[in-house]
Amino acid sequence: MFRDSVRALLERDCTADVLRELWAGESGRSDGLWSGLAELGLTGLLLAEEHGGLGMAEVDLVLALEESGRACLPEPLVETVLAAAPLLETLAAGGGTPASVADKWLPLVAAGEARLAIEHPANPCVADAHVAELLLLLAADGSLHAVERAQVELIRQPCNDAARRLFTVDWKPGDDSLLAKAAGATRLLDAAFDRAAFGCAAQQLGIGQKLIDLAVDYAGQREQFGRAIGSFQAVKHHLATAQVAVEFARPVVYRAACSLATGHTDAGLHVSQAKAMADEAALLAARTSLQVHGGIGYTWEVDLHAWMKRAWALEMTWGGSAWHRGRLADAVLADIDNKPREGQLQLQGVN
C-alpha cells in the first residue's frame, strides 16, 4: 500500500533525530528526503503523466499526507504538491508564458528536482521560499507571477516551529513573469487554497494521532504512586477524549479528498469542514499530550514540542478553523431547507 511505503520511508529517513539536525541546519531541509518522496511518486502524484506525474487525485494522496504529519515532515509538501504545482498545470493548456513555465517546471517537480513556493492572501508569509527554485508571487495589482529564486530577496521571519521557514519576499513583477491577471489569479488561488487547506487538514490528522500516541507511550512507562500513570482514570479520559476528536475528524478529511478529486460543487465547504475539525482535533491532542507528559513535556529535550508547534502553526495556515467554520456557516445558514442528500457518502477505498 502506498501509505505503508511512505510511512516506511519517513520512519527511516525522517526520525526525530533527523528533525533536530535539520532544525540546526541553515535550510532545515533535506534534498535526499525530498527526492525519496519523489521516488515514491508523491511530488508528481497530482500531475498529468505528460509532466512526469501519476495523474492521480487528492483521494490517493490523503493517507500519505497523514503520514507526513505523523512524521512532522519539514518539507513543503502541501505548498508544492497541492497548492502550486496543480495551479501551474491548470495554466499549461492555455499556451504562452504560463504554459512554458508549466512545461519547464512541472517535470522537475515530479522528478523531485524542484520545490515550489506560493504566496497567498490567507498567509502573511511565504513558506519555504528559500528552497523553492520557483516562487509564485502576488503583485500589488493582484496578478500572479512566477519568479525564480535568484531574482528575489528573501527576508526570513523567525517563527515558533523550529522546522518551519517563513519569509517575506522583495521582488519586482515584470511582463515576462506574469502567469495570470487579477481575476484569473483569484480563481487559481482560490482553488489552490482549497487544496492546500485540505492538505493541512490531512497532516493535522497525522499530527494529532502522533501526539496521542506519544502520550500513550509515555503514560504507559512513567510510574508514580507505584503504578504507570496511564492506569489512572483522569489520564485515560483525557486521552480517550482526544482520540474521539481525531477519530471523527478523519472521515471528514477523507470526504474532502473525495470531493476535491471528483470536483464536487461543495468541495470548498467539505474542505472547510475538514480543516476546522482536523485543526481542533490536533490542538486538543496537543494540549492533552502536554498535560499527560507533565513537566517533562515542557522541555526542549523531549520531542513533543515539535508536533505541538506544527499543530499550532497549521491551524492558522491556509485559513484558521474559525475562518473555515465561517465559510461553512455562510453556506449552511443561507440554505437550510430540506434538500435531500444526493450521492457522496460511501468512503470505500480510503481505509
Binding site: 483521494v59 496521542i212 500513550v216 503514560a219 504507559g220 503504578r227 504507570a228 496511564g230 492506569s231 489512572f232 482514570q233 489520564v235 485515560k236 479520559h237 486521552l239 480517550a240 477524549t241 482520540q243 474521539v244 477519530e247 471523527f248 475528524a249 478523519r250 472521515p251 471528514v252 477523507y254 470526504r255 473525495c258 478529486a261 471528483t262 469542514q273 476546522a276 475539525m277 474559525a322 467554520r325 461553512l328 456557516a329 449552511v332 445558514l333 437550510i336 430540506n338 435531500p340 442528500r341 444526493e342 450521492g343 457522496q344 457518502l345 460511501q346 468512503l347 470505500q348 477505498g349 480510503v350 481505509n351
Partner: protein, 388 residues
C-alpha cells in the same frame, strides 16, 4: 472510488420516501413515555410492519427486507426527514434483535423476531439494579434452575417503558457461587408472568418512562435462556456493542436536529445579537452531525466488507451523546428566557420540543454505558493504556 449511491439504492430511497409520505401521521404523536403515547407508537410499529418497513436490514423470514446497512442508513435518513414517530420498540429491534440473531436458536429467532418487528411484543431492558449500574457485574438478581424452569428473584431498575411493555430481556445470576461477570445468564421474560411487579419511576421531566421491575419467584422456561447458561456476560457485551454502535442512534437523527437548530437560529436573529457565539455553536453542531454521518457510513461499509466494530463503538457513543447534548444546550441558549417555558405556554411562541430534547439529551452521557466507562474502555482497549 465509489462515491455515489447506486441505482438500486436510489430506488430504495425513493420507495421509502413515498411510503413514508403517504403514511407518517400528520401530527406528532404524544410522548412514548406516556400511556397514551406508548399505545399510539405501538400502532405506528404495526403500520410500519404492514408496509414492510419495520426493520429493513433484517432477513425477510424475520420481518425484514434483507437490505444491507447502507440501505438501512438511507431508510433512516428518509425516516427522519419525514418526521416519523420514534421507535417505541427500540430496545427490542436495535438491541435484542441483533443479539438474538447472533446467539439465538432458530426456534427462538422464529418465535421472537417477527413479533418484535410487528410491534406485537414491545421489549424493555432489565440490566441495571439499585446496586449495579456502571458496575454491571455486581448484579444480584438470581435465577436458579428447577427442572425445566429458572426461578427468578430480585429487582431490576431503569427499565424504559416497562410499565407498558410486553417482555423484558435480563441478565440474572444463575450460578449461586459465582461472582462478578461469571455465572450470569441472559434471559427473556414476559412482563405478565406471575410474580412480576412493575413500578413506574417518575423522571425529572415528569414522565414515567422508567420503571423498577420486581421478580418474586418468577418461573422462566429454559427455552427462554439466550445463549449458554453462565455465558450471559458475553451475550450482554454483544448487546452493549449494538447499543453504542451503529443502529441505536443513526446519523439521520442528529442531522435532523442540526437542521432544526439552524432553522432556530434563523428564526431568532436577536439571539445571535445577544450572544455572538451562538452562530458558531450552531455550525459546530452541524459539522459534528455530518462527521457522525460520514463515520457511520464508513463503519457500515467496513462491516459490509466483512469487518467488525470493536471498542471503537465506545468512541461512537461518546461522540453522539456529547454532540446531542451540545446541540440542545445551544438551542436552550438560543431560546434564552423562553427556554424554560413549556410548549403549551402562550408566551412560549414556537419553542418546539427543544426543552424535552435537552432534558433527554442530558441522559445521553449516562445511558448505554456512562461516558466515563466508555472512556475507560477506549483508553484501555483502543489505546492500550494499562488497566491499573
Amino acid at each position: 472510488m465509489d462515491l455515489d449511491y447506486t441505482k438500486e439504492q436510489r430506488a430504495f430511497r425513493a420507495e421509502a420516501r413515498e411510503w413514508l409520505k403517504a403514511n407518517v401521521p400528520g401530527q406528532a404523536l404524544p410522548s412514548m413515555d406516556t400511556e397514551q403515547g406508548f399505545a399510539a407508537h405501538r400502532e405506528w410499529e404495526t403500520k410500519l410492519n404492514e408496509g414492510g418497513w419495520a426493520m429493513v436490514s433484517w432477513p425477510v423470514e424475520y420481518g425484514g427486507r434483507g437490505v444491507d446497512l447502507i440501505e438501512w442508513l438511507i431508510f433512516e435518513e428518509e425516516y427522519y426527514r419525514a418526521g416519523a414517530p420514534g421507535r417505541v420498540n427500540q430496545n427490542g429491534i436495535f438491541l435484542l434483535g441483533p443479539t438474538l440473531m447472533e446467539y439465538g436458536s432458530d426456534e427462538q429467532k422464529a418465535r421472537f423476531l417477527p413479533r418484535m418487528a410487528a410491534g406485537i411484543d414491545v421489549w424493555a431492558q432489565g440490566w441495571s439494579e439499585p446496586n449495579a449500574g456502571s458496575d454491571m457485574a455486581a448484579i444480584r438478581t438470581t435465577a436458579f434452575r428447577d427442572g425445566d424452569q429458572y426461578v427468578v428473584n430480585g429487582q431490576k431498575t431503569w427499565c424504559s417503558r416497562a410499565v407498558w411493555a410486553d417482555w423484558i430481556f435480563c441478565i440474572f445470576r444463575t450460578d449461586p457461587d459465582s461472582e462478578r461477570h461469571r455465572g450470569l445468564s441472559f434471559m427473556l421474560v414476559p412482563l405478565d408472568a406471575e410474580g412480576v411487579q412493575v413500578r413506574a419511576i417518575e423522571q425529572l421531566d415528569g414522565e414515567t418512562g422508567f420503571a423498577e421491575v420486581f421478580f418474586d419467584n418468577v418461573r422462566v422456561p429454559v427455552d427462554q435462556l439466550l445463549g449458554e447458561e453462565g455465558g450471559g456476560w458475553k451475550v450482554a457485551m454483544s448487546t452493549a456493542g449494538f447499543e453504542r454502535g451503529l443502529m441505536l442512534r443513526s446519523p439521520a437523527r442528529y442531522q435532523a436536529t442540526a437542521r432544526k437548530l439552524v432553522a432556530l437560529l434563523r428564526d431568532n436573529p436577536e439571539a445571535a445579537q445577544r450572544d455572538p457565539t451562538l452562530g458558531d455553536r450552531v455550525i459546530r453542531g452541524w459539522m459534528q452531525a455530518e462527521a457522525y454521518a460520514l463515520q457511520t457510513y464508513r463503519t457500515a461499509s467496513r462491516i459490509i466488507g466483512g469487518g467488525s466494530i470493536g471498542a471503537e463503538s465506545s468512541l461512537n457513543k461518546i461522540f453522539w451523546s456529547e454532540m446531542d447534548l451540545a446541540m440542545h444546550e445551544t438551542a436552550m441558549a438560543l431560546l434564552g428566557p423562553r427556554a424554560e417555558l413549556l410548549p403549551t405556554a402562550r408566551a412560549a411562541g414556537d419553542v418546539g420540543d427543544w426543552l424535552d430534547g435537552f432534558q433527554f439529551a442530558l441522559a445521553g452521557p449516562i445511558y448505554a454505558g456512562t461516558n466515563e466507562i466508555q472512556r475507560n474502555i477506549a483508553a484501555e482497549r483502543l489505546l492500550g493504556l494499562p488497566r491499573g
